[in-house]
């Protein structure tokens, strides 16, 4: 006589916070629509034991000038749009982006220093070219990040833009700008559960409501430390579901950037033969890095190649559908 199978259902006490990006005209912005993340009461895609309110979303990364150092495959994929952030944002929307992430550079296309005025005009153009909610990340140098992101915050006041990245060594100015102009921030820490939590607490202590905070625990690419990022994300999500309130933020990670700096994606010549076809491998490198992180709990993934975006979107649709 067969035993009756009783499906184990885990009772979780916690819930990931809902965070809404972008604001429509009625809400004080100009976005065609907003995107809400989070709200999960169980592990990724396990519909049977909890509520899953919002699927993971894809942000496509664009830059304010042609990123010459990017892989030729990426330059080819965005050819025709890559010199103009507004055209690029539009094209990214056509290719399936849910969100646009604009990364600012230190220098402009003429090799001159980037300034608050130039950045304001870029942000304005991108906001007019797309109706999607926006994330804006600085060039990654403390002084420049602060100078440029404050300008972004002013220019895009009321749009609920995500400003990034806040790190433990530099978050105060960015958070203050977000507070003053109604924006959100990305809280980035280097692959560690406690550091992730700590920075969320510090930022929250400055008065930023938790529904305006994304948690970015960093990741490595496939083959370059993805297992660390993957496990930190699984642990953060379990902590959130177990009721640890300072880990209950939606998770943002940047698999596109990580994967495309791996040699496997970036380079086509002088690599071992068993690596196979370059373009196929490169797209798979980004795609597989991304889907692994989505299954570990990512709520927003920042990606670069339109074909990887298409593949990941398909996978999300099927994971999201009960029995899919």
């Amino acid at each position: 006589m067969a035993e009756k199978v009783e499906i184990p259902v885990q009772k979780w006490s916690g819930r990931v916070r809902e965070v809404t990006l972008g604001a429509t005209r009625e809400e004080g912005g100009t976005r065609a629509r907003t995107v809400t993340l989070g709200g999960e009461t169980t592990l990724p895609f396990l519909h049977f034991e909890g509520k899953l309110s919002h699927p993971p979303r894809i942000a496509i990364e664009i830059q304010d000038k042609k990123p010459e150092a990017w892989s030729p495959l990426l330059l080819k994929a965005w050819e025709g749009a890559i010199d103009d952030p507004a055209a690029w944002a539009k094209k990214a929307e056509e290719r399936g982006a849910d969100l646009i992430l604009l990364r600012l550079s230190l220098d402009d296309a003429q090799g001159e220093e980037n300034t608050p005025e130039k950045v304001k005009s870029t942000v304005r153009k991108v906001l007019s070219a797309t109706g999607l909610p926006l994330l804006v990340f600085g060039p990654g140098q403390v002084d420049k990040d602060n100078e440029l992101l404050v300008a972004v915050a002013e220019e895009a006041a009321g749009e609920r833009v995500v400003l990034g990245v806040c790190e433990d060594k530099n978050y105060r100015t960015i958070v203050a700008a977000a507070l003053a102009h109604g924006h959100l921030v990305d809280s980035r820490t280097p692959m560690d559960v406690n550091l992730a939590k700590q920075l969320i607490i510090l930022i929250h202590d400055m008065g930023l409501p938790l529904d305006r905070l994304l948690m970015d625990p960093s990741t490595g690419a496939l083959g370059y430390g993805i297992e660390y990022g993957y496990s930190v994300m699984e642990r953060l999500r379990l902590a959130a579901l177990q009721g640890d309130t300072m880990t209950q933020q939606p998770i943002l990670v940047t698999p596109g950037e990580e994967a495309w700096r791996a040699k496997e994606a970036k380079v086509g010549e002088g690599v071992p033969e068993p690596w196979g076809d370059w373009e196929e491998r490169a797209i798979m490198w980004e795609t597989m890095t991304t889907t692994a992180l989505i299954e570990a709990g990512a709520d927003v993934v920042v990606m670069r190649h339109p074909e990887s975006v298409r593949l990941v979107k398909e996978a999300i649709d099927k994971l999201w559908m009960k029995g899919g």
Binding site: M1, G225, E234, L238, R281
Partner: protein
């Protein structure tokens, strides 16, 4: 599920005779629960207690082996749901399907490609595991000849047919290789069980849904077959994630024996393209498959999958490290460039590959960052100015190079000032942030 010290205590004689070497039966029970003592140390334990303890100690997911010799594949015996809870032990076997309707040349070519495929990753050799031969023709003789051909590769095999007659013919050609028989179902389980016993081969069981699967497992175990692999019939992304999670949880958390076996997945049957198949195969690697059968062989898809498998199955308790010290590339001379990086294997190999590839003879110092990457090591104080200065002073590199120029990774440029204080007489150069940019950097480096 493992017994607690108190559960075990109840099974002991409770006489505190001390003959086991512990002061009380309770102390002995606690040691047993912690796996620090052997039950055999107690001379008075009953047979009943022995049987109960042995059953509790049996792994919740059975270890199943297919193939023989150095390329055999062992799967199962997993103990956790999340790799961070301990580690995943037995990486799933990645198998490639061939069909007996393909020409023998085609089958042989594919078998050879799979057997010979090998790709290097951080000093490890990653390989595919075996072949799944399908009886697509429905004829026993075609199936047997296909199996006979691929057997020569020495790779572990999965034999796919629901016809016991064809299976018998194929098994006759592959005797002694322990192939996996796929599959026993509601119709054929008696005959398949007989074949599994006669050929000492593990048996896959296929049913749609958990309850029919459990029912069939019970029948097959009743017939005396214990080495089982399960196919619960799911094929899609969500369907498989949910079903495999149920089975893993039942086996580990409920010690539910009928489902305590490795799982087999066929991602190509739920996918519309080879790329989609590979993405789904990636899910199976992370979420609980024991075997993954791929429809095709393509190195551009195999390499990322093998890498993902390696990453997910890396033991999180022991970061892979290389030995700290001086590494030479080409034949460096006293005025060759000197670089420093950490001993995290992925960091080391990224740097080493680029330096090697640049063709410029160089010295590479590897600091003991306890297996952390550059940025993580820096954040954790394992790759800071102190550690770098100590590495320079203790490795004897000062006798090997005539110049005093040390290139540090661009990601820790912030350390240069502090380092120049710690290493008087040295000039600290800031190298590129990414290893991939090292060849360009080395080309313009001057002593």
């Amino acid at each position: 599920m493992a017994l607690t010290g108190l559960d075990i205590y109840k099974l002991l004689p409770k006489t505190n005779c001390k003959e086991c070497g512990y002061p009380t039966c309770l102390a002995f029970a606690m040691k047993l629960a912690a796996k620090q003592a052997e039950l055999a140390a107690c001379p008075y334990v009953t047979e009943e207690a022995k049987a109960k303890l042995a059953a509790a100690a049996a792994p919740p997911i059975r270890l199943v082996t297919i193939g023989r010799g150095e390329r055999k594949v062992e799967v199962g015996n997993e103990t956790v749901l999340f790799r961070h809870d301990k580690t995943f032990f037995h990486p799933p076997g990645l198998m490639v399907r061939v069909k007996d309707t393909q020409s023998i040349d085609m089958i042989e070519k594919r078998a050879r490609e799979v057997a010979d495929y090998s790709v290097e990753y951080v000093g490890l050799e990653l390989r595919l595991d075996g072949l799944a031969v399908e009886n697509a023709s429905g004829e026993a003789s075609a199936f047997a000849s296909a199996v006979e051909r691929v057997k020569e590769t020495g790779l572990p095999l999965i034999l796919i047919s629901s016809d016991p007659r064809a299976m018998e013919a194929a098994l006759a050609k592959s005797d002694g290789t322990s192939p996996l028989i796929y599959a026993a179902d509601e119709e054929n389980w008696e005959a398949m069980s007989e074949l599994a016993k006669r050929h000492q081969a593990p048996l896959a069981i296929r049913a749609s849904g958990l309850e029919p699967l459990v029912e069939l497992v019970e029948k097959v175990r009743g017939a005396g077959v214990e080495d089982l692999v399960l196919d619960p019939g799911c094929r899609g992304y969500n369907d498989c994630l949910v079903t495999f999670t149920h089975i893993r949880r039942l086996a580990l958390q409920k010690n539910f024996k009928p489902l305590g076996f490795p799982l087999i997945a066929f991602p190509g049957e739920g996918a519309n393209s080879p790329e989609e198949e590979a993405i789904l195969a990636g899910q199976h690697i992370a979420k609980y498959a024991g075997f993954v059968v791929m429809e095709d062989f393509d190195p551009a898809l195999a390499y990322p999958l093998l890498t993902l498998r390696q990453n997910i199955y890396t033991d999180p308790r022991e970061p892979i490290q290389v030995t700290p010290g001086i590494y030479e590339f080409g034949e460096p001379v006293p005025d060759s460039p000197l670089l420093i990086t950490t001993n995290f294997s992925i960091t080391y190999f990224s740097v080493a590959n680029e330096v090697e590839g640049s063709g410029i003879p160089s010295w590479l110092l590897v600091a003991d960052s306890e297996g952390m990457s550059v940025l993580t090591g820096w954040a954790a104080g394992k790759f800071d100015a102190d550690k770098i200065a100590k590495t320079v002073k203790t490795t004897g590199i000062e006798e090997k190079v005539s110049h005093r120029k040390l290139t540090i990774p661009g990601a820790v440029a912030v350390l240069s000032g502090e380092l120049e204080d710690e290493l008087p007489g040295w000039e600290i150069l800031v190298g590129p942030r990414e290893a991939v940019d090292l060849p360009a950097y080395l080309k313009i480096w001057k002593p």
